[in-house]
Symmetry: C2
Subunit: 136 residues, 2 copies
Amino acid sequence: MYQKKEIVNKLRSSGLRPTKQRVLIAKKLFDRDKTFHFTIETLDKKINKKGSEKISLATIYNTIEAFTNAGYLKAILTSKSKSYYDTNIKSHHHFYDEGTKELTDIDYSQIKLSKVPIPPKGKKIKNLEVVIRVQK
Amino acid sequence: MYQKKEIVNKLRSSGLRPTKQRVLIAKKLFDRDKTFHFTIETLDKKINKKGSEKISLATIYNTIEAFTNAGYLKAILTSKSKSYYDTNIKSHHHFYDEGTKELTDIDYSQIKLSKVPIPPKGKKIKNLEVVIRVQK
DNA sequence: TTTCAGTTTATAATAATTCTAAACTAGAAA
DNA sequence: TTTCTAGTTTAGAATTATTATAAACTGAAA
Ligand SMILES: [Mn+2]
Ligand SMILES: [Mn+2]
Ligand SMILES: [Zn+2]
Ligand SMILES: [Zn+2]
């Protein structure tokens, strides 16, 4: 899906130097079929597993921040004191499983609204996201 | 709105001893007209302002956790690594102002959905909340 | 090749939260 | 009432999440 060349171009186009670390992290994040919802902690574990070249935690933080600013990632709404990120940057919705604490994407077209409130005076709606809490 | 007696009963009914600290915090939180959206930090500032009796930060954390478990408060979805709470425990929606970073309640009846996805197999929908991001 | 701004890294600092254990207290029981 | 004690508060330590620092490293322009 994502060849190294593509990643390099993508990074360059955002003014980010395609360093070894950034390319490796981008590959882990974007070279996959399904959306990836993660925290720095889970990503760090995936990247720094035995036998693989190490990337410092500081670089992981820096890179995720850079990717988020560049629009490659999106911060997810949670009620935890830890940041969550999403590789699906399209406006979309989520199922949130209370038991497993896992998120699943819902395509934007899967939810239709027939009534939406008028925003406060002088303010415009930028986007609208739905979280559907589910349970066994 | 909330007399001391009512607060004491409410606490007792949840198996929480109506201590001086809990009653004072409950009064600050619930004796108001509009919903209060807050963090531990903002609440601490409100409680421990000059001239008032001090309540330790640990107690504020403990009390907010106890109130949340008792169902008096709800954790709010955010993308910040800091927990937010809401005195409005009804299922409801929010406007989130990107500029001021402030939340405003939207009554549940103000949003109507004409299409909702089927939850994953074996799971049931517990609730559905909408966040509408707004900007100047 | 050389050069150097941008980047990585280990580590320190800060911020948010949770833990600990000693002192205190609400309220049941004497 | 007074006594008793489990529940609670508290200061401070510990832990966790994140950001800052500053020295070493490197991608890529020239
Ligand atoms: Mn940073
Ligand atoms: Mn705790
Ligand atoms: Zn998603
Ligand atoms: Zn609210």
